[in-house]
Symmetry: C2
Subunit: 340 residues, 2 copies
DNA sequence: GACTCCCGTGGAAACGTTTCCATGATGTTT
DNA sequence: AAACATCATGGAAACGTTTCCACGGGAGTC
């Protein structure tokens, strides 16, 4: 076995006794080749272990193919689902997927975009962090960019696929209010966060229902476990009269559960807890947690379709909104008269 | 802005009034270029929004760069960690990462390897499913393949980075035995599974400790939530005298918790539960679950180092074993005399 | 002051494809 | 039977790089 370099189209052509153009036609499926020739070429290729180089092809056809995905963190369950969705769609379309994690850092996002552009990917799917300017540049740089799971409202012309977070928070809020809760704590994202639709939906829904919004009950946590825990602890300690907590993310939900447990609060007798993101542990918690399920897989899948399949329709119309689902479990009940 | 096609090195050269070789030198950092010329080239490049094409470069240098990662499922927490580790390492080395999920299907794995080979990636990191023959071929096809998190013992010459599962199961078994358990149920992977080191470690440890192994207590589940649940339910219903359950994976642990709850068994009073994989919900469970933490991130990181950085040392020596950690929480206690 | 040496530079040949065009050999129409 | 459309095929140019080689000139050495 002295096959050091991978075989090239020339080797195959020579071995099969045909021209390179014929070999190319056999592998790309275009043009017409006689059955006999095709067989000879295929046999030669197999013997040489030939595999067309995506580099050569990409160079000629201008565009390496493949699609890039940028998420804050691949270990986050929602991001994981999103990536899985992209992978599923890309596979049906025969494209490969370059994944990278930006850790929520705009500068790193910009770097990644730069690198993907260098790879000449066919499109980029991003769950963006906060820097609009960079993305405005990115939109120029790459043929097609789609936001998924999150948007930067200040970046125009970039289509997006989103979970209907506002709708989800609305139903959760209505559900809690329907149970009789009036003092609902909201654990949300920090002011700098790209989009605070969840907080707005919470406020709007309460307003519509005629429940006054107490600013003191709406707290913003910066990303990360520790900040989430601090926020939850702050809320529940400061306001012992809170009867329910709506956590706008699984990290915040986790924090709420842990803090409640640490404070010896019974769920849902002393305090009801609900959250956005129906992660695996929601069902394993005791009691199981009521949550909003966001269709991460579908978001990724649709985004990928959008970026590859419908270049014409991109940009037209608003964002694609995918429905969420309220999964009622045992963590919410009627409010207790007064804690402590 | 009529910059339809991306600018090429030629455009930059023309615009800066130099030869293309000089532009190449400026961007690749090799050779010598005078400061003045460098500045002129850089300015021209910026003006034209030039970005070197990885395609052209890869073609010339034979090898597109980048590394491929193949896992069964990106949404699995351990796989997610592993991918994150690879991403972290690849970033420091300036490589991009192509990710794909094979869903545990050997045929799909083979397809993905084929595609990655076509991309001329610098290396492949795989958490392999069961077909040795395909991987034997893959090892030939790609410059360097490394197994991570799982191995196929029948494929020689492929280095690997593993979590020390055997050690983890051993400490868990010792821990349970030390608490006084003698009838420990083991929920493990199906016979077809690539490697059953965990089951073997369980058996060996019990044997060493002089505890007889009852075949009836060692059950194998096929992959997936439903099969896991079925296996756990079967075990706990069939053998009411089991005092502890050791689940060899987070899905199996989840199933054990759910089944115990469904059977109204108190944990750990009626039955102790422990598992491999310290996933997020282990701490949120009530009681929090004792678990073996596997260093998924490190496994990915080391595998990436191995595949890119130490091509010389690859293959020598046995697999790289990374230590696991026993995280004791509240789900295990001394055995109860008799259930029911 | 002639020699060597090195530095900055440009030309040109690869790298492995795709694709346009030309060519010869068939088969088809009048 | 002659002209013509059709088909299978090969040659060659391009795609955007890197890199070898050659060339000119300024500085250092004797």
């Amino acid at each position: 076995m002295t096959d050091r370099r991978p075989a090239t189209i020339k080797d195959v052509a020579a071995s099969a006794g045909v021209g390179i153009a014929t070999v190319s036609r056999v592998f790309s499926g275009t043009g017409s080749v006689s059955a006999a020739t095709r067989d000879r070429v295929l046999a030669a290729a197999r013997a040489l272990d030939y595999r067309p180089s995506a580099l050569g092809r990409g160079l000629k056809t201008r565009g390496g193919g493949g699609i890039g995905v940028i998420v804050p963190d691949v270990t986050d369950p929602f991001c994981g689902e999103l990536v899985a969705g992209v992978l599923a769609c890309a596979r049906t379309l025969g494209e490969h997927v370059i994944v990278d994690a930006a850790g929520g850092d705009p500068a790193r996002e910009a770097q990644i975009v730069e690198r993907l552009a260098g790879q000449r990917v066919a499109g980029i799917i991003a769950m963006p962090a906060g820097d609009e300017a960079d993305w405005r540049g990115a939109a120029r740089v790459c043929s097609s960019v789609v936001f998924a799971g999150r948007v930067l409202p200040e970046v125009p012309g970039v289509p997006s696929v989103l979970a209907d977070d506002a709708g989800g928070v609305r139903s959760l809020t209505e559900y809690l209010t329907g149970l009789g809760h009036r003092r609902i704590g909201f654990l949300g994202a920090a002011p700098g966060s790209p989009s605070r639709v969840r907080e707005r939906a919470f406020r709007d829904t309460l307003a519509e229902l005629g429940v006054p919004v107490e600013e003191d009950l709406v707290v913003a946590a910066r990303p990360g476990r520790d900040a989430a825990y601090a926020a939850a602890a702050g809320l529940l300690q400061r306001r012992a009269d809170v009867t329910a907590v709506l956590a706008a993310g699984h990290l915040l939900g986790e924090a709420a559960v842990l803090v409640a447990r640490g404070l010896d609060l019974r769920v849902p007798a002393d305090v009801s807890i609900a959250m956005v993101d129906d992660v695996a542990w929601a069902e394993l918690c005791d009691p199981p947690l009521t949550a909003i399920a966001r269709p991460g897989h579908d978001v990724g899948y649709r985004a990928c379709e959008l970026v590859l399949r419908e270049p014409a329709r991109r940009g037209r119309g608003g964002p694609v909104l995918l429905p969420t689902e309220l999964v009622v479990r045992g963590s919410c009940g009627p409010p207790r008269a007064q804690r402590r």
